[in-house]
């Protein structure tokens, strides 16, 4: 039984062949040693070094507490991106439009819905898919549910790689996570743009924001605008809190009220805000930082603190990463770090890292 061919899958993604995505994700999520070799080959094919530029897709993190209306919001956004927003986004710098494989116009969208794993069994119930409306015949959309894995509020290493790979093929890659605070920080590590979703009357987000427990997101979305006064008040309070944190000027966080159920309101404004934020970024710098951070995280999850120490500590590891070619993907960066410890262990004789 021959396994998947990572390089071939990577090439197909590079050419915007969206049908390669499911198999690519299966491979990237796998921790089997043979699959991980292929995964490296795949990621190499979609790395900036091979692409000649950063992956063109816009990586959007969407996070918020349970019940805030994320799924309904994503359904409405999905619909907008696929159909409604098609012609309105001429300003979008690097869309992968014109790949001819998607059955509709508009922008192609991949959504990674991340759900927590059970601490008891390690299993997970990925229920969000059921709540996102999609047209099964539309090949321009991919929805994948993934488990967060062992760490609370974390993203599994496979998810980080998946985002990088999908951004080469899809116009928009959404990572949806549940929670506020920790979860949002993790998403901010991998996304170009982060939107936090809150429902009217939810004071906790306000408190988190003021207390600095959560980082300031790029957009704050107040759902259920049809609730009227209470939604308006929430929006006002959030705006005030942001101002008091000193966020002002053109780059300030936008607070947008949306109603995802008919009559749909505010979705176009949100989509524009996301695009504007992306346009304001130095994408090469952002992504480079992301790749290096991911590499460090993955290295640590593989080799532990002991592994880090044998590199000379976290700061030294960071310095090593900063010296690498900016075009390298995160797996290649991990490999670089691993090569370093191998060298050191060779020199030092028989010390086993992690023994």
């Amino acid at each position: 039984m021959s396994g998947p061919d990572g390089a071939a899958l990577g090439k197909r993604l590079r050419e915007h062949d969206l049908s390669a995505a499911p198999a690519a994700l299966n491979l990237l999520e796998s921790r089997a040693p043979s699959d991980r070799e292929q995964a490296k080959a795949l990621l190499h094919e979609v790395s900036p070094a091979v692409l000649g530029h950063e992956a063109p897709g816009h990586i959007v993190g969407v996070t918020g507490p349970p019940g805030a209306g994320k799924s309904t919001l994503l359904s409405a956004l999905l619909d907008y991106w696929r159909v409604g927003g098609a012609e309105k986004n001429a300003s979008e710098p690097q869309t992968a439009a014109g790949n001819g494989r998607a059955t509709k116009g508009g922008r192609t969208v991949a959504m990674l819905a991340v759900d927590p794993s059970s601490k008891h069994s390690g299993g997970s119930l990925l229920g969000d898919r059921a709540r996102i409306d999609f047209d099964p015949s539309d090949t321009g959309v991919l929805i994948r549910s993934t488990a967060a894995g062992e760490r609370l509020g974390g993203l599994a290493p496979g998810t980080r790689s998946a985002v990088q790979a999908l951004a080469a093929a899809f116009d928009i890659v959404v990572i949806e996570t549940v929670g506020v605070g920790q979860a949002e920080t993790e998403v901010a590590d991998v996304a170009d743009t982060v939107a936090v979703v809150v429902q009217p009357g939810s004071g906790d987000v306000l408190q988190f924001l003021k207390a600095g427990i959560m980082e300031t997101p790029d957009a704050l979305v107040v759902t259920k605008a049809d609730l009227g006064q209470i939604a308006l008040r929430t929006r006002r309070d959030l705006s005030a809190a942001l101002r008091s944190l000193g966020a002002s000027g053109p780059a300030a966080t936008r607070v947008i009220a949306v109603s995802s159920l008919p009559p749909v309101e505010g979705i176009d404004e949100l989509a524009r805000a996301l695009d504007d934020h992306r346009a304001s970024l130095d994408i090469a710098q952002t992504r480079l930082r992301t790749r290096r951070a991911s590499a460090l995280l993955e290295f640590t999850s593989e080799h532990g603190e002991r592994g880090l120490r044998s590199l000379g500590g976290r700061r030294e590891a960071q310095r090593l990463l900063d010296q690498q070619d900016p075009g390298l993907d995160s797996q290649a960066l991990v490999a670089e770090l691993e090569r370093k410890i191998e060298k050191k262990t060779e020199r030092m004789g028989s010390v086993e890292p992690g023994a």
């Binding site: 999520e29 089997a32 390690g122 119930l125």
Partner: protein, 675 residues
């Protein structure tokens, strides 16, 4: 009417409750014949079962209707179908109960128009539309629109009938389905009462503010028209106490929250269908005595006796009951009402300390739980909370049965049995709907559309859309709905028009919040197996669980999903109402290792092969297992079509099913069996 000082008896024997049989299948014509036969047998009211496309607002030629037409009820697509269904039945005298919810306004409109054709004005119509949408979100799954517009439709229907169809019960608040979904008696009381509050509040908002205090007077009438549809399980003493508790809470609610004073309006009125959840596939004849005992629960005490009863048939866990099976259940009611002395006494529990104690306990529990629902912002807002609580109760119930703590005779205890002559005939003792019905109905609805005055229909639907869009107007949606029925619009067209305005909706699944099963020895073993399988596969084994077709009975699928998580799998739970194409697309995108499908509506013969075909087309090669009410004789054909395993209600040990599924995945990947 109560007895004199010396006699313990009533001076006059009570009249029996209304006796019904939940019936309908294949076509309007075939169902009409069945109704007439049932009435000739002494049934005193009608209970119409609609098929799932009709219940969810789809015409027979809709993609989602595939395999479901005429299966669990009768298809009614337009006024012509309703007229055929009621042909020769005098609607001025008949009392008709319709199990219809999302599309209740539409079916009532068709009924009103059919009565017009018989020369019967709407003022004379008697009957009930179920019309309880919250429990559809919670338990039954035949919703069509999002919560807010659904509540508006219900409120409008109530406002309309109170004024124009005064003998109609516009809503049956259902605790029935909550029990079927696993509710405890306390949950059943609390959630149904909370649902009623949500409905009454919505009506008050719709008709209230009506200047001159007329709103308040109307509220009394509205309160008096609300009836309940309850369930009764086999613990019949406690179940009877539950009904007494509901009566007390209902009166209290009327007085305190809505200012109702007229005692006639305050009476707790309910109809009942007794429990199907506890009916077994194993030794199905035992279900007869379960049904009898459950019927006692709702008739024993006079002060909490049902107004109308319909009993399930002994073979419901096997498939669709035949007319003879339903006759047997009708005869149970008749023996109880006419042969026994049940109807000769005043309330036999008056003064009983045990009964009063039970009632008090339930009232206290229900009040506390109602307060929790209120804290969530009322029943509509609390749907996710209630759904998760139900899934959890059901999980606990199943664990008790698996562990043998809750005895189910013939299933987990006393399982030695002779072979049953009842299921020995060729079809296994159930009704099988002729598959040609669907094609016939498709042709029929197309002919209907071609034959009518299209301009009138278009205008009527445009008017419906206009009223629907005017969210804040006081225009009642029933008016354009009746006009569209009269014009000859179809069920699918009416629902589509409203979907376009209201949007569509998917209810929460409740599975994400379900608590984990207590880790026992068996579960630990399975987790080991999952872990070792994960090493081989490179990823955690991933299963897709979903329900193809329109059947919304998701309890089984939810329990499988929760248990699969508890053994350590990654579970994609897709919820209800999926097309084969959606299932195939999800399986592909999610990269699952196995697919579990659940069907209870009898449409497995059509839908399962369709799913397998769609998977094939999508290039997904993973094993498919099927669970549901699958008659014995259908198991082999399904396996031939490519299904790896079939589970039916007799496979009640979910942990065993999990172990099977893991073995199937291992085999598919060439991994040796676990020791």
């Amino acid at each position: 009417m109560s007895g004199d000082q010396h006699s313990p008896r009533l001076t006059e024997r009570d009249r029996p409750w209304m006796m019904r049989t939940y019936a309908g299948h294949s076509t309007a014509k075939a169902s009409n014949e069945l109704y007439r036969r049932n009435l000739a047998k002494g049934q005193t009211g009608l209970s119409v079962a609609f098929d799932l496309p009709t219940q969810t607002g789809h015409d027979p030629d809709d993609e989602l209707a595939r395999g479901e037409v005429g299966k669990v009820g009768v298809p009614v697509s337009h006024r012509g179908d309703m007229e055929a269904l009621m042909e020769g039945i005098p609607l001025g005298e008949m009392n008709t109960s319709m199990t219809i919810n999302a599309t209740a306004a539409w079916l009532l409109a068709l009924y009103i128009v059919a009565a017009e054709e018989q020369g019967v004005p709407q003022e004379r119509l008697q009957g009930t539309t179920q019309n309880d949408i919250i429990k559809e979100f919670l338990a039954r799954g035949t919703y069509a629109f999002p919560p807010a517009p659904s509540m508006r439709l219900i409120a409008d229907m109530i406002a309309y009938t109170v004024q124009h169809v005064p003998k109609w019960n516009p809503i049956n608040v259902c605790s029935y389905h909550l029990q079927e979904a696993g509710a405890t008696p306390v949950q059943e009381i609390a959630y149904s009462m909370s649902n009623a509050v949500a409905v009454l509040d919505a009506v008050r908002e719709r008709i209230g503010g009506a200047n001159d205090g007329r709103g308040e007077k109307l509220m009394g009438e509205v309160f008096g028209r609300i009836s309940f549809f309850v369930n009764a399980g086999v613990r019949f003493i406690e179940e009877h106490a539950k009904l007494r508790a509901m009566g007390i809470l209902w009166e209290e609610l009327g007085r305190e929250r809505y200012g109702v004073e007229d005692p006639r309006h305050l009476r707790f009125r309910y109809g009942v269908q007794v429990n199907s959840l506890g009916l077994t596939e194993a030794q199905p004849e035992n279900n007869v005595q379960r049904i009898v005992l459950e019927a006692l629960a709702v008739t024993l005490g006079r002060s909490a006796r049902a107004r109308a009863i319909q009993l399930p048939a002994w073979n419901e866990a096997l498939g669709l009951p035949r007319p003879w099976d339903q006759q047997w259940s009708l005869r149970i009611q008749q023996v109880l009402a006419y042969e026994t002395d049940l109807l000769e006494y005043p309330d036999i529990f008056e003064g009983s300390k045990v009964m009063d104690g039970l009632v008090q306990e339930l009232i206290e529990g229900a009040r506390a739980e109602m307060a929790v629902v209120a804290e969530h912002g009322g029943a509509v807002e609390a749907v996710p909370y209630m759904k998760a609580a139900l899934v959890d109760s059901h999980r606990q119930r199943i664990s008790r049965i698996e562990a043998g703590e809750q005895v189910v005779v013939g299933q987990n205890r006393f399982i030695e049995t002779e072979s049953s002559p009842l299921t020995a005939d060729g079809e296994g003792g159930i009704l099988v709907v002729d598959p040609a019905v669907e094609a016939h109905q498709i042709e029929e609805v197309r002919a209907w559309r071609a034959d009518r005055d299209q301009q009138t229909v278009d205008a009527a639907l445009a008017e419906l859309a206009r009223v629907a869009r005017e969210e804040d107007s006081k225009e009642n949606l029933m008016v354009p709905t009746i006009a569209a029925a009269r014009a000859g619009a179809t069920t699918g067209e009416w629902a589509r028009t409203l979907r376009e305005v209201f949007g569509s909706y998917r209810a929460p699944t409740g599975v994400g919040e379900a608590s984990a099963a207590p880790a026992d020895h068996e579960l630990a073993g399975l987790r080991e197996q999952v872990a070792s399988l994960q090493e081989t596969l490179g990823r955690r084994p991933k299963i897709l669980v979903g329900k193809p077709g329109l059947d919304g009975h998701s309890n089984g699928a939810e329990q499988i999903a929760v248990r699969a998580r508890d053994v350590g799998m990654d579970v994609v739970y897709e919820g209800i109402r999926l097309t084969p194409a959606q299932i195939a697309a999800s399986a592909l995108q999610e990269g699952v290792h196995v697919i579990g499908l659940s069907i209870l509506s009898g449409s497995h013969r059509e839908l399962i092969p369709a799913v397998i075909e769609a998977l094939h087309e999508a290039g997904v090669d993973v094993p498919v297992v099927v669970g549901g009410i699958i008659p014995e004789q259908d198991v082999e054909p399904l396996k031939k079509a490519g299904v790896a395993a079939v589970y039916t209600p007799k496979d009640f040990e979910i942990t065993k099913i999990m172990s099977d599924i893991l073995e199937i995945v291992r085999q598919r990947h060439g991994v040796p069996s676990a020791a």
